[in-house]
């Protein structure tokens, strides 16, 4: 057998195999589907941001909640009872809201994985060579800004609670009487639950509850919260997609009811 010593020049060489990958499975399928899913979500979000049909009876479209702009939401913000952005505000009302949950999802550790793989191909799949000649990851600008994630979490948690409040209000009919349950109520409740599961299963939330501690035994309540968040966190990817689908379904449903396209009993 040939003896190879540590000093050998050729020893420092990797196996020279001039193909991008030797994988034989359909490794490309997940990034393609992820790309398509995220693209469709962005397209819908862009449309919803400009669409003004956000109120239908007691329902409010999640992409436009809380309603903050007086010009486009004459009833004012239900949560605060007034519209903080007066008639001077001319931009789409969704813009005021979507920047925060959008930023939360953009900097989310799961979404980072999904779009780094599917959009930036860094890498497209495990053991598949990426096309970039240089890589510094999140060690410098601009990607080091991903570390702002926890601040988006703080705002997203508030918005998640507002969506829950909206879901509770959807048990009222158009005249404000409690006891109404329509298809929209069910959709908004399911959406609120999924958004909360996604938001409070976030890695930053896990860190804030007790992940930063080294002595769980000294903080039993925080430890309990950490175990609960960890359970949600283990399904973070599933909740990310489920809540993304549910928020589009809920938003589209309310807008279609508001436009009169959906007009059946118990809508």
């Amino acid at each position: 057998m040939t003896q190879t010593t540590a000093e050998s020049a050729v020893r420092k060489q990797r196996a020279q195999i001039r193909v991008r990958t030797l994988r034989t499975d359909r490794w490309w399928l997940a990034p393609v589907l992820t790309f398509a899913g995220l693209f469709l979500f962005l397209i819908y979000g862009f449309w919803a941001m400009f669409d003004l049909s956000m109120l239908a009876g007691s329902y409010i479209a999640p992409f436009s909640s809380p309603c903050l702009a007086a010009a486009t939401c004459p009833e004012g913000a239900r949560l605060f009872g007034f519209a903080p952005f007066g008639d001077w505000y001319k931009l789409p009302p969704g813009l005021l809201i979507l920047a925060f949950p959008g930023g939360f999802r953009f900097t989310c550790y799961y979404y980072r994985k999904s779009y780094y793989r599917s959009w930036w191909m860094s890498p497209p799949a495990c053991s598949v060579a990426e096309p970039h000649s240089k890589y510094t990851g999140e060690s410098r600008l601009p990607l080091i800004l991903q570390n702002v994630h926890r601040y988006f979490f703080y705002v997203a948690a508030i918005i998640g609670l507002i969506l829950t409040y909206d879901a509770v209000l959807s048990f009222r009919d158009a005249d404000g009487n409690w006891g109404h349950v329509g298809l929209g109520t069910v959709i908004l409740v399911v959406n609120a639950v999924l958004v909360l599961c996604y938001t409070f299963g976030c890695h930053s939330c896990r860190h804030i509850t007790a992940g930063r501690l080294n002595h769980f035994s000294r903080h039993p309540l925080r430890y309990k919260a950490w175990t609960l968040v960890s359970k949600l966190n283990a399904r973070h990817q599933q909740f990310a997609w489920a809540s993304m689908v549910s928020i589009v379904v809920a938003d589209l449903y309310v807008r279609l009811v508001a436009k009169g396209v959906i007009n059946f009993p118990f809508a």
């Binding site: 060489q13 030797l22 550790y109 053991s127 283990a234």
Partner: protein, 250 residues
Amino acid sequence: MGYKAKFRVWRGEGGEGRLEDFTVEVNEGEVVLDVIHRLQATQTPDLAVRWNCKAGKCGSCSMEINGKPRLGCMTRMSTFEEDETITVTPLRTFPVIKDLVTDVSFNYQKAREVPSFTPPADVKPGEYRMQQIDVERSQEFRKCIECFMCQNVCHVIRDHEENKPNFSGPRYFIRIAELDMHPYDVADRKEPAQDEHGLGYCNITKCCTEVCPEHIKITDNAIIPMKERVVDRKYDPLVWLGSKIFKRQR
């Protein structure tokens, strides 16, 4: 029932080599390493392969099977179609010594760069008192068998050899996390994790977690918690302010 399988095995020394085709007998219940050993016994007596326990616990027989990092001893032949050609190559991130044997000393170098467990000066061995819940989180990381498949699959160094000096890799991020989460470790590991070990290079695409034969949640339980701890230390002004106001130890 036995059958004849088609194997393509990378053979060579240093970086130079080629994929060679073989037809080799496979019997029921065998794993890829068994077939490699049969190749050695019947066709290629000088084929080099590193192995030891044949039980998935020593981490020696790491190789790439159909392009994926796998343990040869834990990859059942029954997971492949009988007419499928199975391609076996050495780990692609490390220099080849011969055939399927790579030089993984990069990892040992990185291991030496992580300071060892550092207890408080006033606590003597035998005086450590810890609750189970305080240590069980980092016990997960002690399952590591050092197969280095996480290091191999990580694109930060797999696709960018130039990053090796600045990046320790997932195996050592779990080591750093294990120590940083230890109730009695007092060494500063957060800033070094970012500045010396290259934690910021990780873009959490989770390939390390996917290939771990011990199913350690490397990304979710070690790398991301360490990234959050680094944010506490370096990037979060509220945490900084809180530490000043409440005189908390950071």
